[in-house]
Amino acid sequence: MARRKKKAFPHKAILGIEALSVDDVRYIIDTARNLRSVFKRRRIKKTPALQGRTVLNLFLEPSTRTRVSFELAEKRLSADIINIAAASSAIVKGESIFDTGRTLLAMSPDLIVIRHKMGGSPHFLHKHLEIPVINAGDGINQHPTQALLDLLSILDRIDTVEGKTITIVGDIKHSRVARSNVLLLKKMGAKVRLCGPPTLLQPEYATLGGEIFYDLKQAVEGAHVVMMLRVQLERMKMGYFPTTNEYRRLYCFTAKHLKLARKNALVMHPGPMNRWVEIEPEVADSENSLILDQVANGISIRMALLYLLLGEKG
C-alpha cells in the first residue's frame, strides 16, 4: 500500500462530512479497502506507513470503542501514540481546550484525534493549533469516522447507496452519528428517512436532508438499510419520553419490523446497544446485521484517514 502511488488528498483535517466531496469519500473508502486487504493477507498486522509520526489521542469524553479503534489503527500503521483521557486531563481541572492544546503542541504531535463533549471543539483546535485534526465525535455535532465506516459496511454488502432507502431511528436530536450519516448518505445519493419520538426529532431536522417519520413501521417499510441509534436513558429522565417501556413499544426494531423492510435489508447499530430497548436481540444478531462489520471496518476507515492525512506523499 505504502509503495503504491498516492493520489493527493486535499484535506488537512476531518472535522465533519460537509467538506468532503463525493470523490474524497470514494478515495477514503478505496484506501480503507486496500489497507484492509493488505492486513488480511498478513500474519503480522503492522506496516511502517506512519513510522516516526506521533498521533495524540485526546479523548475528553468517555469512549471505549472509538478510542480503541483509533489506537489499533495507529498501531497498525506504526505511529507513536500519546493517549490523554478525560479523567486524567487538565480539562477536568478547568483548563480550556486552548491551553490544553497549546501544551500538547509542545510535544510536537503530527496529528490530534479528538473526542469532546462539545460541538465545534475539533474545529477550534484545528484553527488555533494549525495541525491535522480528526474529529472522533464532538458533542451533538458530528462523528465523521463513524459515518464513513458505516458507509463502508453498507458498500461491502450492496454496490451503491444511490437511490437506496436508509432509515435512521432513535434520538436524532442528540446523535452526532445520525447527523454525520445523514449528510454522508445524502451526499452519496441515498434517500434518508429519520424516525424517532417528536421530542427528539423536530421538523427542522428535515433540513439535514432526511424525510421525517414518527411511526417506525412506516419509516422502515421498503428500506434497504435500517440504522438504529442508542437511546440514552438520561433522556428519559429529562422528559423526552415517559418510560423505557413506552420507547420500546414505539421504537424498538424487531423481527416484525424487519419483515416490513426490503428483503435482505441490512441492520446497523453504532453501539453500544441497549438490547430490548431500541433493538430486539434476534435482529441484532441476525444475518442481516452489520454490527460486527461496523466495528471491524472502523479500524480500516481510521487507518485510511490517518494514512491520507499523514502518510508519505507520492
Partner: protein, 426 residues
C-alpha cells in the same frame, strides 16, 4: 465658552435636523440656532469647527456591564467609561450583576461615587430586582432608589417566578422605576448556546428557541397590564417579541424595548465558525427576526439601541463555544453598526440619533439626550463618511470580545463632550 460651528445638528427631542451652531457656556448648552442669531456675548468666543460632521446630543446606552465591583479583570468603571466616551456615549446605565450584586444602597453608592470621582461620563445604575439576582426575594429597591438607581433589573438572570415579578412591578411603581426585563425561560433554554432552528441543526450546537424569550415577554406584558408598571424589554431578539411590544403599546401599556447592534446586524449564521465572539444571550437569531427588529426600531416600537456591552477576559472566549462566556462588547462599535443601517436605508440618520438619545432618555425619564438651552452640554460629534476598521487592540475597553472585529465600516466618533468638556477626541 465656545461655539460649535459648521456642523449638521440632529436633535430629535427638539426637532432639529439642519446646519446650525451650538453655544456652550459653563458646561451648559446656551444656544442652538442659526449663526446670525447667536447671542452677542458668543460672537468672539472660541469656535469648534464641526465641518463635514454631525452634531448630536451625547449618546445614552441603557445597557452596559461595567463589572466593577468584583470583576475588575474584565472591566472597571474607568475603562468602561472610557470605552463609552470613545463610542460617543455620555450617559450609560450599568447592570447590577457585579460581585457583590448591586442589590442594596451600599453597592449603588460605591459605583456612583467611584464613577463621579474617576469616570468622565454620567454612570447611572440599574439595581437588582431580587436579592443576589436569585429570583427569590425582592432586593432593597427603596434603598437603592435613594442612592440613585434609574431602573431595576435582574439582567443576566430571569425572574422565573411570576408572582415575584408581579410584586416587583407593584413595588417599583411606588418609586416610578422602570423594570428592565431579561426574558429567558430557563426550562426552555436548557443547555442551549445558540438560536434553535435550521442553523443549530447544521452546526450541531444545542439550541435556544425564540419561545424561551417570547413566553417571558408575553407574561411580563400581562403583568404590566395587571400592575400598570413601566416595563422595558432588554435586548429584544425575536420577531414575535417586536410584534408583542407593538401590540402592548397599542393597548396603552407603558412598554418599551431596546435592541442591540449585534442583533440588528448579524444572524445565527455567524455561529458556523464556533467562534465564541458570536455567543451571547439572547443568541443571534434568523434573518427574519433581524428584519423585524430593524423595522421595529425604524417605527419606534423599539426606542433604543443599547449595546449590552459585556466585556470578558480573552480566555473566557477563546475556548469551546459551549462553555464560553455569554456576551460581546459594544460601546466602541455601536455607532458604526448603526450607521451601516442608515447606509442601507433601514433607518434615517435622525431615527438613529433618536435611538441613541431621546429614545433611551424617555425610558429612564432622563433630561439627557437633548440639546435644549440650559441643559448639560453633553454632545457627540461624528462623521458618517470616514472609514473605520474595527481593531479590538485599540479598544479602550478591557474586553476585546467583539463580533465585528476586523470588519470595515463607514463613520467615526470625532469628539465626545461631557458637561462642556471634551472627553474624547479622534
Amino acid at each position: 465658552m465656545y461655539v460649535i460651528i459648521n456642523g449638521h445638528v440632529i436633535d430629535p427631542a427638539n426637532n432639529v435636523n439642519r446646519k446650525c451652531v451650538i453655544a456652550v457656556e459653563k458646561g451648559k448648552i446656551a444656544f442652538v440656532g442659526n449663526r446670525r442669531n447667536l447671542p452677542v456675548e458668543f460672537k468672539k468666543a472660541d469656535v469648534m469647527d464641526a465641518s463635514g460632521c454631525y452634531v448630536a446630543p451625547g449618546f445614552i446606552d441603557l445597557h452596559v456591564h461595567l463589572r466593577e465591583p468584583g470583576l475588575e479583570y474584565k472591566e472597571t468603571i474607568v475603562t468602561g467609561a472610557r470605552a463609552a466616551a470613545a463610542g460617543g456615549f455620555t450617559t450609560i446605565v450599568c447592570m447590577p450583576n457585579t460581585e457583590p450584586v448591586n442589590d442594596g444602597g451600599e453597592v449603588t453608592n460605591f459605583i456612583r461615587k467611584k464613577a463621579q470621582r474617576e469616570a468622565s461620563i454620567n454612570v447611572l445604575c440599574a439595581g437588582a430586582i431580587s436579592k443576589n439576582l436569585e429570583g427569590k426575594e425582592l432586593a432593597r429597591i427603596g434603598e437603592m432608589k435613594e442612592a440613585g438607581i434609574v431602573a431595576i433589573t435582574d439582567d443576566g438572570h430571569c425572574v422565573m417566578n411570576a408572582g415575584l415579578m408581579r410584586r416587583a412591578m407593584e413595588y417599583a411603581n411606588g418609586f416610578d422605576l422602570p423594570l428592565f426585563i431579561h426574558a429567558q425561560d430557563y426550562d426552555l433554554c436548557m443547555s442551549g448556546v445558540m438560536n434553535e432552528g435550521e442553523n443549530s441543526v447544521r452546526f450541531g450546537l444545542p439550541g435556544i428557541p425564540a419561545a424561551a424569550e417570547d413566553v417571558i415577554v408575553a407574561r411580563d406584558i400581562e403583568l404590566a397590564a395587571l400592575t400598570g408598571a413601566r416595563v422595558h424589554f432588554c435586548h429584544a431578539s425575536t420577531a414575535r417579541q417586536a410584534r408583542m411590544i407593538k401590540d402592548a403599546q397599542r393597548r396603552g401599556l407603558k412598554i418599551t424595548g431596546e435592541v442591540t447592534p449585534h442583533h440588528l446586524a448579524l444572524t445565527d449564521e455567524a455561529c458556523s465558525t464556533y467562534d465564541a465572539d458570536f455567543k451571547m444571550y439572547p443568541p443571534l437569531r434568523t434573518s427574519n427576526d433581524r428584519k423585524a427588529l430593524r423595522k421595529a426600531l425604524a417605527e419606534g416600537v423599539l426606542c433604543a439601541i443599547a449595546t449590552d456591552h459585556a466585556p470578558h477576559a480573552e480566555n473566557e472566549k477563546k475556548c469551546e463555544f459551549e462553555i464560553a462566556a455569554n456576551g460581546v462588547v459594544g460601546l466602541e462599535t455601536a455607532l458604526n453598526v448603526a450607521l451601516s443601517l442608515v447606509e442601507r436605508k433601514t433607518l434615517s440618520l435622525s431615527q438613529m440619533v433618536y435611538a441613541f438619545t431621546e429614545g433611551p432618555a424617555k425610558v429612564i425619564g432622563s433630561a439627557a439626550g437633548a440639546l435644549s438651552a440650559g441643559s448639560d452640554a453633553d454632545i457627540t460629534i461624528f462623521s458618517t463618511s470616514e472609514k473605520t476598521v474595527i481593531d479590538t487592540a485599540k479598544f479602550h475597553s478591557k474586553g476585546k470580545n467583539s463580533p465585528f472585529k476586523g470588519m470595515e465600516f463607514k463613520g467615526k466618533v470625532k469628539k465626545t463632550i461631557f458637561h462642556g468638556k471634551t472627553i474624547y477626541e479622534d
